[in-house]
Symmetry: C2
Subunit: 281 residues, 2 copies
Amino acid sequence: MVILKKIDEVRAQVKEWKKQGLTVGLVPTMGYLHEGHQSLIKKSVEQNDRTVVSVFVNPIQFGPNEDLESYPRDLEADAKLCESTGADIIFNPEPEEMYADGFVSFINMTGLPNALCGLTRPIHFKGVCTVVGKLFNIVTPDRAYFGQKDAQQLAIIMRMVKDLNFDIEIVGCPIIREADGLAKSSRNIYLTPEERKAAVVLSKAVKLGQDMIADGERDAAKIVGEMKKLISAEPLATIDYVEMVNMDTMQSIEKAEGHVLCAMAVKFGKARLIDNFIAEL
Amino acid sequence: MVILKKIDEVRAQVKEWKKQGLTVGLVPTMGYLHEGHQSLIKKSVEQNDRTVVSVFVNPIQFGPNEDLESYPRDLEADAKLCESTGADIIFNPEPEEMYADGFVSFINMTGLPNALCGLTRPIHFKGVCTVVGKLFNIVTPDRAYFGQKDAQQLAIIMRMVKDLNFDIEIVGCPIIREADGLAKSSRNIYLTPEERKAAVVLSKAVKLGQDMIADGERDAAKIVGEMKKLISAEPLATIDYVEMVNMDTMQSIEKAEGHVLCAMAVKFGKARLIDNFIAEL
Protein backbone atom coordinates (compact mmCIF):
# COMPACT_ATOMS: atom_id res chain seq x y z
CA MET A 1 0.00 0.00 0.00
CA VAL A 2 1.19 3.53 -0.73
CA ILE A 3 0.20 6.93 0.63
CA LEU A 4 -0.07 9.44 -2.22
CA LYS A 5 -0.40 13.22 -1.69
CA LYS A 6 -0.74 14.39 -5.29
CA ILE A 7 -3.70 14.15 -7.66
CA ASP A 8 -1.44 13.31 -10.62
CA GLU A 9 0.14 10.39 -8.75
CA VAL A 10 -3.27 8.85 -8.03
CA ARG A 11 -4.38 9.40 -11.63
CA ALA A 12 -1.26 7.78 -13.04
CA GLN A 13 -1.65 4.70 -10.83
CA VAL A 14 -5.37 4.29 -11.57
CA LYS A 15 -4.74 4.64 -15.32
CA GLU A 16 -2.13 1.90 -15.06
CA TRP A 17 -4.67 -0.36 -13.35
CA LYS A 18 -7.41 0.42 -15.87
CA LYS A 19 -5.06 -0.44 -18.72
CA GLN A 20 -4.71 -3.86 -17.11
CA GLY A 21 -8.50 -4.17 -16.99
CA LEU A 22 -8.65 -3.97 -13.18
CA THR A 23 -11.69 -2.56 -11.35
CA VAL A 24 -11.29 0.18 -8.75
CA GLY A 25 -13.25 0.93 -5.58
CA LEU A 26 -13.13 4.27 -3.76
CA VAL A 27 -13.81 4.82 -0.05
CA PRO A 28 -13.95 8.59 0.65
CA THR A 29 -13.21 9.37 4.32
CA MET A 30 -12.06 12.19 6.58
CA GLY A 31 -9.70 9.76 8.34
CA TYR A 32 -9.48 8.80 12.02
CA LEU A 33 -10.80 5.51 10.75
CA HIS A 34 -12.88 3.14 12.85
CA GLU A 35 -14.66 -0.16 12.24
CA GLY A 36 -17.38 1.68 10.33
CA HIS A 37 -14.90 2.87 7.72
CA GLN A 38 -13.20 -0.50 7.84
CA SER A 39 -16.43 -2.23 6.83
CA LEU A 40 -16.56 0.02 3.74
CA ILE A 41 -12.95 -0.76 2.86
CA LYS A 42 -13.58 -4.49 3.33
CA LYS A 43 -16.58 -4.33 1.04
CA SER A 44 -14.56 -2.47 -1.60
CA VAL A 45 -11.69 -4.97 -1.38
CA GLU A 46 -14.21 -7.80 -1.84
CA GLN A 47 -15.91 -6.20 -4.86
CA ASN A 48 -12.97 -4.61 -6.70
CA ASP A 49 -9.46 -5.52 -7.84
CA ARG A 50 -8.01 -2.37 -6.29
CA THR A 51 -9.16 -0.02 -3.52
CA VAL A 52 -8.36 3.65 -2.96
CA VAL A 53 -9.15 5.18 0.45
CA SER A 54 -9.14 8.97 0.50
CA VAL A 55 -8.27 10.54 3.85
CA PHE A 56 -9.04 14.25 3.63
CA VAL A 57 -10.60 16.54 6.21
CA ASN A 58 -12.47 18.64 3.66
CA PRO A 59 -12.43 22.27 4.84
CA ILE A 60 -15.30 23.43 2.62
CA GLN A 61 -17.86 21.16 4.28
CA PHE A 62 -17.31 22.73 7.73
CA GLY A 63 -19.19 25.85 8.81
CA PRO A 64 -17.36 28.72 10.52
CA ASN A 65 -18.28 27.55 14.04
CA GLU A 66 -17.81 23.85 13.43
CA ASP A 67 -14.98 21.48 14.37
CA LEU A 68 -12.62 21.74 11.38
CA GLU A 69 -9.57 22.55 13.51
CA SER A 70 -10.28 20.03 16.26
CA TYR A 71 -11.47 17.20 13.99
CA PRO A 72 -9.33 14.21 15.05
CA ARG A 73 -6.49 13.10 12.75
CA ASP A 74 -4.16 10.08 12.95
CA LEU A 75 -2.72 9.15 9.56
CA GLU A 76 -0.36 6.54 11.02
CA ALA A 77 -3.19 4.53 12.58
CA ASP A 78 -5.31 5.05 9.44
CA ALA A 79 -2.50 3.65 7.30
CA LYS A 80 -2.24 0.55 9.47
CA LEU A 81 -5.98 -0.07 9.30
CA CYS A 82 -6.06 0.46 5.51
CA GLU A 83 -3.08 -1.77 4.87
CA SER A 84 -4.36 -4.59 7.08
CA THR A 85 -7.77 -4.39 5.41
CA GLY A 86 -6.32 -4.69 1.91
CA ALA A 87 -6.45 -1.14 0.52
CA ASP A 88 -3.92 -0.29 -2.21
CA ILE A 89 -3.70 3.51 -2.01
CA ILE A 90 -4.38 6.11 0.66
CA PHE A 91 -4.96 9.42 -1.10
CA ASN A 92 -4.10 12.08 1.50
CA PRO A 93 -3.87 15.46 -0.22
CA GLU A 94 -3.16 18.79 1.44
CA PRO A 95 -6.04 21.30 1.24
CA GLU A 96 -4.00 23.37 -1.29
CA GLU A 97 -3.78 20.34 -3.57
CA MET A 98 -7.59 20.06 -3.65
CA TYR A 99 -8.42 23.78 -3.60
CA ALA A 100 -5.82 25.69 -5.58
CA ASP A 101 -5.71 29.48 -5.80
CA GLY A 102 -8.74 30.85 -7.60
CA PHE A 103 -10.94 27.82 -6.89
CA VAL A 104 -14.56 28.87 -7.62
CA SER A 105 -16.51 25.80 -8.82
CA PHE A 106 -19.03 23.90 -6.74
CA ILE A 107 -21.55 21.11 -7.07
CA ASN A 108 -24.75 21.90 -5.24
CA MET A 109 -28.30 20.69 -5.03
CA THR A 110 -31.70 22.22 -4.59
CA GLY A 111 -34.05 20.23 -2.41
CA LEU A 112 -32.32 17.34 -0.68
CA PRO A 113 -29.89 19.39 1.44
CA ASN A 114 -32.70 21.62 2.76
CA ALA A 115 -33.68 19.12 5.44
CA LEU A 116 -32.27 17.36 8.50
CA CYS A 117 -28.54 18.17 8.91
CA GLY A 118 -28.66 20.63 6.01
CA LEU A 119 -30.84 23.00 8.07
CA THR A 120 -28.27 23.59 10.81
CA ARG A 121 -25.26 23.02 8.51
CA PRO A 122 -26.17 25.18 5.49
CA ILE A 123 -22.94 24.83 3.46
CA HIS A 124 -22.18 21.25 4.52
CA PHE A 125 -23.62 19.27 1.61
CA LYS A 126 -22.36 21.72 -1.02
CA GLY A 127 -18.87 20.99 0.36
CA VAL A 128 -19.56 17.24 0.42
CA CYS A 129 -20.91 17.12 -3.16
CA THR A 130 -18.00 19.19 -4.44
CA VAL A 131 -15.26 17.14 -2.82
CA VAL A 132 -16.91 13.84 -3.73
CA GLY A 133 -17.33 15.01 -7.34
CA LYS A 134 -13.65 15.92 -7.39
CA LEU A 135 -12.64 12.56 -5.91
CA PHE A 136 -14.81 10.77 -8.49
CA ASN A 137 -13.03 12.64 -11.29
CA ILE A 138 -9.58 12.02 -9.81
CA VAL A 139 -10.01 8.31 -9.00
CA THR A 140 -12.65 7.40 -11.65
CA PRO A 141 -13.73 4.40 -9.58
CA ASP A 142 -16.13 1.67 -10.74
CA ARG A 143 -17.75 1.71 -7.30
CA ALA A 144 -17.73 4.09 -4.32
CA TYR A 145 -18.65 3.21 -0.74
CA PHE A 146 -20.58 5.31 1.76
CA GLY A 147 -21.93 4.47 5.22
CA GLN A 148 -25.64 4.48 5.90
CA LYS A 149 -24.83 6.28 9.15
CA ASP A 150 -24.62 9.49 7.10
CA ALA A 151 -27.96 8.67 5.51
CA GLN A 152 -28.69 12.12 4.11
CA GLN A 153 -25.19 12.23 2.60
CA LEU A 154 -25.78 8.79 1.04
CA ALA A 155 -29.10 9.94 -0.46
CA ILE A 156 -27.51 13.14 -1.76
CA ILE A 157 -24.54 11.35 -3.35
CA MET A 158 -26.88 8.85 -5.01
CA ARG A 159 -28.93 11.72 -6.41
CA MET A 160 -25.81 13.60 -7.57
CA VAL A 161 -24.48 10.53 -9.38
CA LYS A 162 -27.82 10.07 -11.14
CA ASP A 163 -28.32 13.74 -12.01
CA LEU A 164 -24.78 14.45 -13.21
CA ASN A 165 -24.32 11.04 -14.90
CA PHE A 166 -21.26 9.86 -13.02
CA ASP A 167 -20.68 6.32 -14.29
CA ILE A 168 -20.12 4.97 -10.77
CA GLU A 169 -22.05 2.47 -8.66
CA ILE A 170 -22.75 3.84 -5.17
CA VAL A 171 -22.70 1.13 -2.50
CA GLY A 172 -24.34 2.01 0.83
CA CYS A 173 -23.14 -0.01 3.83
CA PRO A 174 -24.89 -0.62 7.17
CA ILE A 175 -24.15 1.26 10.41
CA ILE A 176 -21.49 -0.37 12.58
CA ARG A 177 -22.13 -0.06 16.33
CA GLU A 178 -20.27 -0.41 19.61
CA ALA A 179 -21.24 -3.35 21.89
CA ASP A 180 -23.80 -1.17 23.70
CA GLY A 181 -25.35 0.09 20.45
CA LEU A 182 -23.67 3.51 19.96
CA ALA A 183 -22.99 4.06 16.25
CA LYS A 184 -19.23 4.20 15.55
CA SER A 185 -18.10 7.74 14.76
CA SER A 186 -14.82 9.62 14.69
CA ARG A 187 -16.62 12.28 16.74
CA ASN A 188 -17.30 9.85 19.64
CA ILE A 189 -13.81 10.83 20.85
CA TYR A 190 -15.27 14.21 21.92
CA LEU A 191 -17.48 12.48 24.54
CA THR A 192 -16.61 12.58 28.26
CA PRO A 193 -17.13 9.22 30.05
CA GLU A 194 -20.55 10.42 31.30
CA GLU A 195 -21.60 11.64 27.88
CA ARG A 196 -20.38 8.37 26.37
CA LYS A 197 -22.75 6.47 28.66
CA ALA A 198 -25.62 8.86 27.97
CA ALA A 199 -25.12 8.65 24.19
CA VAL A 200 -26.43 5.09 24.11
CA VAL A 201 -29.88 6.68 24.21
CA LEU A 202 -29.55 7.33 20.45
CA SER A 203 -29.42 3.68 19.49
CA LYS A 204 -32.16 2.96 22.04
CA ALA A 205 -34.34 5.52 20.25
CA VAL A 206 -33.53 3.84 16.92
CA LYS A 207 -34.55 0.49 18.40
CA LEU A 208 -37.76 2.00 19.79
CA GLY A 209 -38.72 3.46 16.40
CA GLN A 210 -37.97 0.18 14.62
CA ASP A 211 -40.00 -1.78 17.16
CA MET A 212 -43.01 0.54 16.83
CA ILE A 213 -42.91 0.08 13.04
CA ALA A 214 -42.55 -3.69 13.44
CA ASP A 215 -45.64 -3.57 15.68
CA GLY A 216 -47.58 -1.92 12.88
CA GLU A 217 -47.42 1.76 13.90
CA ARG A 218 -47.33 4.03 10.83
CA ASP A 219 -48.05 7.48 12.32
CA ALA A 220 -44.75 9.35 11.84
CA ALA A 221 -45.54 12.01 14.49
CA LYS A 222 -46.33 9.33 17.04
CA ILE A 223 -43.14 7.34 16.36
CA VAL A 224 -40.95 10.44 16.35
CA GLY A 225 -42.73 11.73 19.45
CA GLU A 226 -41.94 8.57 21.43
CA MET A 227 -38.33 8.62 20.26
CA LYS A 228 -37.96 12.26 21.30
CA LYS A 229 -39.49 11.52 24.70
CA LEU A 230 -36.94 8.77 25.26
CA ILE A 231 -34.00 10.99 24.25
CA SER A 232 -35.26 13.99 26.24
CA ALA A 233 -35.31 11.87 29.39
CA GLU A 234 -31.50 11.79 29.17
CA PRO A 235 -30.28 15.02 30.88
CA LEU A 236 -26.99 15.22 28.89
CA ALA A 237 -28.75 14.99 25.52
CA THR A 238 -29.87 18.08 23.56
CA ILE A 239 -31.94 17.23 20.50
CA ASP A 240 -31.07 19.00 17.24
CA TYR A 241 -33.72 17.05 15.33
CA VAL A 242 -35.54 13.71 15.14
CA GLU A 243 -37.43 13.36 11.87
CA MET A 244 -39.06 10.93 9.53
CA VAL A 245 -38.61 11.69 5.81
CA ASN A 246 -38.76 10.04 2.43
CA MET A 247 -35.21 8.71 1.80
CA ASP A 248 -35.20 9.75 -1.87
CA THR A 249 -36.56 13.30 -1.51
CA MET A 250 -35.80 14.17 2.16
CA GLN A 251 -39.38 15.51 2.37
CA SER A 252 -41.14 15.08 5.72
CA ILE A 253 -43.78 12.35 5.76
CA GLU A 254 -46.85 11.96 7.95
CA LYS A 255 -47.17 8.24 7.40
CA ALA A 256 -44.34 5.71 7.52
CA GLU A 257 -44.55 4.20 4.05
CA GLY A 258 -42.31 3.78 1.02
CA HIS A 259 -38.57 4.38 1.38
CA VAL A 260 -38.47 5.76 4.93
CA LEU A 261 -35.55 7.40 6.71
CA CYS A 262 -35.91 8.15 10.39
CA ALA A 263 -32.90 10.26 11.37
CA MET A 264 -31.70 12.22 14.37
CA ALA A 265 -28.93 14.57 15.43
CA VAL A 266 -28.35 15.05 19.15
CA LYS A 267 -25.70 17.01 21.03
CA PHE A 268 -23.80 15.65 24.02
CA GLY A 269 -21.46 18.40 25.21
CA LYS A 270 -19.09 19.21 22.31
CA ALA A 271 -20.18 16.21 20.27
CA ARG A 272 -23.01 16.40 17.75
CA LEU A 273 -23.88 12.77 17.00
CA ILE A 274 -26.19 11.32 14.37
CA ASP A 275 -28.01 8.01 14.08
CA ASN A 276 -30.87 6.65 11.98
CA PHE A 277 -32.72 3.71 10.56
CA ILE A 278 -34.06 3.09 7.08
CA ALA A 279 -37.19 1.06 6.35
CA GLU A 280 -38.88 -0.11 3.16
CA LEU A 281 -42.60 -0.20 3.93
CA MET B 1 -22.30 8.14 -38.40
CA VAL B 2 -25.21 7.42 -36.07
CA ILE B 3 -27.68 9.65 -34.25
CA LEU B 4 -28.17 8.42 -30.68
CA LYS B 5 -30.91 9.67 -28.36
CA LYS B 6 -30.09 7.72 -25.19
CA ILE B 7 -27.30 8.23 -22.67
CA ASP B 8 -26.75 4.48 -22.31
CA GLU B 9 -26.29 4.06 -26.06
CA VAL B 10 -23.57 6.72 -26.16
CA ARG B 11 -21.88 5.23 -23.11
CA ALA B 12 -21.86 1.72 -24.58
CA GLN B 13 -20.33 2.93 -27.86
CA VAL B 14 -17.66 5.04 -26.15
CA LYS B 15 -16.73 2.14 -23.85
CA GLU B 16 -16.31 -0.06 -26.90
CA TRP B 17 -13.98 2.52 -28.45
CA LYS B 18 -11.98 2.94 -25.24
CA LYS B 19 -11.49 -0.81 -25.01
CA GLN B 20 -9.88 -0.62 -28.43
CA GLY B 21 -7.59 2.16 -27.16
CA LEU B 22 -9.20 4.84 -29.33
CA THR B 23 -9.28 8.50 -28.29
CA VAL B 24 -12.54 10.44 -28.24
CA GLY B 25 -13.27 14.12 -28.91
CA LEU B 26 -16.49 15.86 -27.85
CA VAL B 27 -18.02 18.92 -29.52
CA PRO B 28 -20.94 20.18 -27.37
CA THR B 29 -23.41 22.24 -29.42
CA MET B 30 -27.02 23.42 -29.41
CA GLY B 31 -27.31 22.47 -33.09
CA TYR B 32 -28.21 24.61 -36.12
CA LEU B 33 -24.60 24.11 -36.98
CA HIS B 34 -22.58 26.58 -39.03
CA GLU B 35 -18.96 26.86 -40.13
CA GLY B 36 -17.98 27.87 -36.59
CA HIS B 37 -19.17 24.54 -35.19
CA GLN B 38 -17.74 22.80 -38.22
CA SER B 39 -14.27 24.15 -37.44
CA LEU B 40 -14.56 22.57 -33.95
CA ILE B 41 -15.66 19.23 -35.41
CA LYS B 42 -12.80 19.34 -37.93
CA LYS B 43 -10.30 20.00 -35.16
CA SER B 44 -11.71 17.12 -33.12
CA VAL B 45 -11.60 14.74 -36.10
CA GLU B 46 -7.96 15.73 -36.67
CA GLN B 47 -6.93 15.23 -33.04
CA ASN B 48 -8.98 12.16 -32.04
CA ASP B 49 -9.81 8.69 -33.38
CA ARG B 50 -13.53 9.26 -32.81
CA THR B 51 -15.72 12.38 -32.50
CA VAL B 52 -19.04 12.84 -30.71
CA VAL B 53 -21.09 15.97 -31.48
CA SER B 54 -23.85 16.68 -28.98
CA VAL B 55 -26.84 18.57 -30.37
CA PHE B 56 -28.99 19.65 -27.44
CA VAL B 57 -30.83 22.92 -26.87
CA ASN B 58 -30.24 22.94 -23.12
CA PRO B 59 -33.37 24.36 -21.44
CA ILE B 60 -31.69 25.15 -18.10
CA GLN B 61 -29.30 27.70 -19.60
CA PHE B 62 -32.13 29.89 -20.93
CA GLY B 63 -33.76 32.52 -18.74
CA PRO B 64 -37.57 32.86 -18.63
CA ASN B 65 -37.64 35.67 -21.22
CA GLU B 66 -34.98 34.25 -23.51
CA ASP B 67 -35.24 32.44 -26.83
CA LEU B 68 -35.54 28.77 -25.76
CA GLU B 69 -38.69 28.15 -27.81
CA SER B 70 -37.61 30.04 -30.90
CA TYR B 71 -33.99 28.87 -30.90
CA PRO B 72 -33.45 27.49 -34.42
CA ARG B 73 -33.31 23.70 -34.90
CA ASP B 74 -32.51 21.61 -37.99
CA LEU B 75 -31.27 18.14 -37.12
CA GLU B 76 -31.29 16.94 -40.71
CA ALA B 77 -28.92 19.67 -41.87
CA ASP B 78 -26.82 19.18 -38.72
CA ALA B 79 -26.49 15.47 -39.48
CA LYS B 80 -25.30 16.19 -43.01
CA LEU B 81 -22.69 18.65 -41.78
CA CYS B 82 -21.48 16.28 -39.03
CA GLU B 83 -21.27 13.30 -41.36
CA SER B 84 -19.43 15.17 -44.09
CA THR B 85 -16.98 16.57 -41.52
CA GLY B 86 -16.16 13.11 -40.15
CA ALA B 87 -18.08 12.92 -36.85
CA ASP B 88 -19.01 9.43 -35.64
CA ILE B 89 -21.94 10.10 -33.31
CA ILE B 90 -24.52 12.83 -32.94
CA PHE B 91 -25.87 12.69 -29.40
CA ASN B 92 -29.31 14.27 -29.59
CA PRO B 93 -31.20 13.57 -26.35
CA GLU B 94 -34.67 14.77 -25.44
CA PRO B 95 -34.78 17.16 -22.46
CA GLU B 96 -36.37 14.39 -20.33
CA GLU B 97 -33.39 12.15 -21.03
CA MET B 98 -31.02 14.79 -19.63
CA TYR B 99 -33.26 16.10 -16.83
CA ALA B 100 -35.29 13.26 -15.38
CA ASP B 101 -37.99 13.74 -12.74
CA GLY B 102 -36.53 14.94 -9.47
CA PHE B 103 -33.42 16.46 -11.05
CA VAL B 104 -31.86 18.76 -8.42
CA SER B 105 -28.05 18.80 -8.93
CA PHE B 106 -26.12 21.67 -10.46
CA ILE B 107 -22.56 22.76 -11.11
CA ASN B 108 -22.09 26.43 -10.40
CA MET B 109 -19.33 28.91 -9.90
CA THR B 110 -18.70 31.92 -7.74
CA GLY B 111 -16.82 34.72 -9.45
CA LEU B 112 -16.43 34.10 -13.17
CA PRO B 113 -20.13 34.13 -14.12
CA ASN B 114 -20.68 37.45 -12.29
CA ALA B 115 -19.43 39.52 -15.23
CA LEU B 116 -20.21 40.21 -18.88
CA CYS B 117 -23.04 37.94 -20.12
CA GLY B 118 -23.55 36.54 -16.62
CA LEU B 119 -24.89 39.90 -15.41
CA THR B 120 -27.87 39.99 -17.77
CA ARG B 121 -28.20 36.18 -17.96
CA PRO B 122 -28.01 35.23 -14.27
CA ILE B 123 -28.75 31.47 -14.57
CA HIS B 124 -27.04 30.99 -17.93
CA PHE B 125 -23.62 29.72 -16.87
CA LYS B 126 -25.02 27.50 -14.12
CA GLY B 127 -26.99 25.77 -16.88
CA VAL B 128 -23.95 25.62 -19.15
CA CYS B 129 -21.64 24.19 -16.45
CA THR B 130 -24.24 21.61 -15.45
CA VAL B 131 -24.96 20.35 -18.95
CA VAL B 132 -21.29 20.33 -19.93
CA GLY B 133 -20.42 18.44 -16.73
CA LYS B 134 -23.13 15.90 -17.58
CA LEU B 135 -21.87 15.56 -21.17
CA PHE B 136 -18.32 15.08 -19.89
CA ASN B 137 -19.51 12.26 -17.62
CA ILE B 138 -21.59 10.64 -20.37
CA VAL B 139 -19.02 10.82 -23.16
CA THR B 140 -15.80 10.80 -21.04
CA PRO B 141 -13.87 12.41 -23.91
CA ASP B 142 -10.12 12.88 -24.03
CA ARG B 143 -10.63 16.36 -25.47
CA ALA B 144 -13.56 18.77 -25.74
CA TYR B 145 -13.87 21.66 -28.19
CA PHE B 146 -15.32 25.11 -27.54
CA GLY B 147 -15.36 28.23 -29.69
CA GLN B 148 -13.57 31.36 -28.59
CA LYS B 149 -16.65 33.27 -29.74
CA ASP B 150 -18.25 32.34 -26.41
CA ALA B 151 -15.14 33.54 -24.61
CA GLN B 152 -16.65 33.74 -21.14
CA GLN B 153 -18.06 30.25 -21.56
CA LEU B 154 -14.62 28.99 -22.64
CA ALA B 155 -12.97 30.60 -19.59
CA ILE B 156 -15.65 29.16 -17.29
CA ILE B 157 -15.38 25.64 -18.72
CA MET B 158 -11.58 25.75 -18.40
CA ARG B 159 -11.93 26.82 -14.76
CA MET B 160 -14.55 24.14 -14.06
CA VAL B 161 -12.35 21.42 -15.54
CA LYS B 162 -9.43 22.55 -13.39
CA ASP B 163 -11.44 23.01 -10.18
CA LEU B 164 -13.45 19.78 -10.40
CA ASN B 165 -10.57 17.70 -11.82
CA PHE B 166 -12.20 16.54 -15.04
CA ASP B 167 -9.44 14.62 -16.86
CA ILE B 168 -10.22 16.32 -20.18
CA GLU B 169 -8.20 18.68 -22.37
CA ILE B 170 -10.21 21.77 -23.33
CA VAL B 171 -9.38 23.01 -26.82
CA GLY B 172 -10.44 26.59 -27.63
CA CYS B 173 -10.89 27.36 -31.34
CA PRO B 174 -10.83 30.75 -33.11
CA ILE B 175 -13.91 32.71 -34.16
CA ILE B 176 -15.12 31.96 -37.69
CA ARG B 177 -16.50 34.99 -39.54
CA GLU B 178 -18.64 35.77 -42.57
CA ALA B 179 -16.91 37.47 -45.53
CA ASP B 180 -17.80 40.93 -44.16
CA GLY B 181 -16.50 40.10 -40.67
CA LEU B 182 -19.70 39.18 -38.77
CA ALA B 183 -18.99 36.31 -36.38
CA LYS B 184 -20.90 33.16 -37.38
CA SER B 185 -23.75 32.44 -34.98
CA SER B 186 -26.93 30.38 -35.02
CA ARG B 187 -28.67 33.52 -33.78
CA ASN B 188 -27.73 35.51 -36.92
CA ILE B 189 -30.87 34.00 -38.42
CA TYR B 190 -32.92 36.36 -36.24
CA LEU B 191 -31.51 39.39 -38.13
CA THR B 192 -33.58 41.28 -40.72
CA PRO B 193 -31.60 42.24 -43.86
CA GLU B 194 -31.07 45.76 -42.44
CA GLU B 195 -29.95 44.45 -39.07
CA ARG B 196 -27.66 41.97 -40.81
CA LYS B 197 -25.91 44.85 -42.54
CA ALA B 198 -25.74 46.90 -39.35
CA ALA B 199 -24.33 43.97 -37.35
CA VAL B 200 -21.01 44.22 -39.16
CA VAL B 201 -20.23 47.07 -36.74
CA LEU B 202 -19.37 44.42 -34.11
CA SER B 203 -16.42 43.02 -36.01
CA LYS B 204 -15.41 46.57 -36.94
CA ALA B 205 -15.29 47.41 -33.24
CA VAL B 206 -13.18 44.29 -32.64
CA LYS B 207 -10.80 45.40 -35.37
CA LEU B 208 -10.66 48.92 -33.91
CA GLY B 209 -9.78 47.61 -30.43
CA GLN B 210 -7.12 45.28 -31.83
CA ASP B 211 -5.60 48.09 -33.90
CA MET B 212 -5.45 50.44 -30.91
CA ILE B 213 -3.62 47.76 -28.91
CA ALA B 214 -1.28 47.08 -31.83
CA ASP B 215 -0.53 50.83 -31.88
CA GLY B 216 0.51 50.65 -28.22
CA GLU B 217 -2.66 51.88 -26.48
CA ARG B 218 -3.10 50.16 -23.07
CA ASP B 219 -5.78 52.31 -21.41
CA ALA B 220 -8.79 49.97 -21.20
CA ALA B 221 -11.34 52.77 -20.75
CA LYS B 222 -9.99 54.57 -23.80
CA ILE B 223 -10.07 51.46 -26.02
CA VAL B 224 -13.55 50.43 -24.83
CA GLY B 225 -14.72 54.03 -25.17
CA GLU B 226 -13.70 54.21 -28.82
CA MET B 227 -15.30 50.84 -29.55
CA LYS B 228 -18.56 51.95 -27.90
CA LYS B 229 -18.51 55.19 -29.87
CA LEU B 230 -18.22 53.23 -33.11
CA ILE B 231 -21.05 50.83 -32.20
CA SER B 232 -23.32 53.63 -30.92
CA ALA B 233 -23.04 55.38 -34.27
CA GLU B 234 -25.04 52.46 -35.72
CA PRO B 235 -28.75 53.32 -35.14
CA LEU B 236 -29.92 49.64 -35.11
CA ALA B 237 -27.40 48.62 -32.44
CA THR B 238 -28.19 48.67 -28.70
CA ILE B 239 -25.16 47.97 -26.53
CA ASP B 240 -25.61 45.48 -23.69
CA TYR B 241 -21.93 45.75 -22.72
CA VAL B 242 -18.44 46.34 -24.11
CA GLU B 243 -15.79 45.46 -21.54
CA MET B 244 -12.18 44.60 -21.05
CA VAL B 245 -11.47 41.95 -18.41
CA ASN B 246 -8.81 39.48 -17.38
CA MET B 247 -9.59 36.27 -19.29
CA ASP B 248 -8.85 33.98 -16.33
CA THR B 249 -10.80 35.84 -13.63
CA MET B 250 -13.33 37.92 -15.64
CA GLN B 251 -12.37 40.89 -13.44
CA SER B 252 -12.45 44.31 -15.05
CA ILE B 253 -9.02 45.72 -15.83
CA GLU B 254 -7.89 49.33 -16.20
CA LYS B 255 -4.80 48.51 -18.20
CA ALA B 256 -4.65 46.09 -21.13
CA GLU B 257 -2.00 43.65 -19.90
CA GLY B 258 -1.72 39.93 -19.22
CA HIS B 259 -4.42 37.61 -20.56
CA VAL B 260 -6.91 40.16 -21.87
CA LEU B 261 -10.46 39.55 -23.08
CA CYS B 262 -12.29 42.42 -24.73
CA ALA B 263 -15.91 41.28 -25.14
CA MET B 264 -19.20 42.79 -26.19
CA ALA B 265 -22.89 41.93 -26.41
CA VAL B 266 -25.07 44.08 -28.62
CA LYS B 267 -28.73 43.79 -29.56
CA PHE B 268 -30.05 44.17 -33.10
CA GLY B 269 -33.82 43.78 -32.95
CA LYS B 270 -34.56 40.29 -31.58
CA ALA B 271 -30.94 39.15 -31.87
CA ARG B 272 -28.46 39.55 -29.04
CA LEU B 273 -25.05 39.02 -30.64
CA ILE B 274 -21.64 38.66 -29.04
CA ASP B 275 -18.12 39.18 -30.33
CA ASN B 276 -14.70 39.59 -28.77
CA PHE B 277 -10.97 39.44 -29.10
CA ILE B 278 -8.34 37.95 -26.81
CA ALA B 279 -4.82 39.34 -26.45
CA GLU B 280 -1.74 38.21 -24.55
CA LEU B 281 0.12 41.39 -23.57
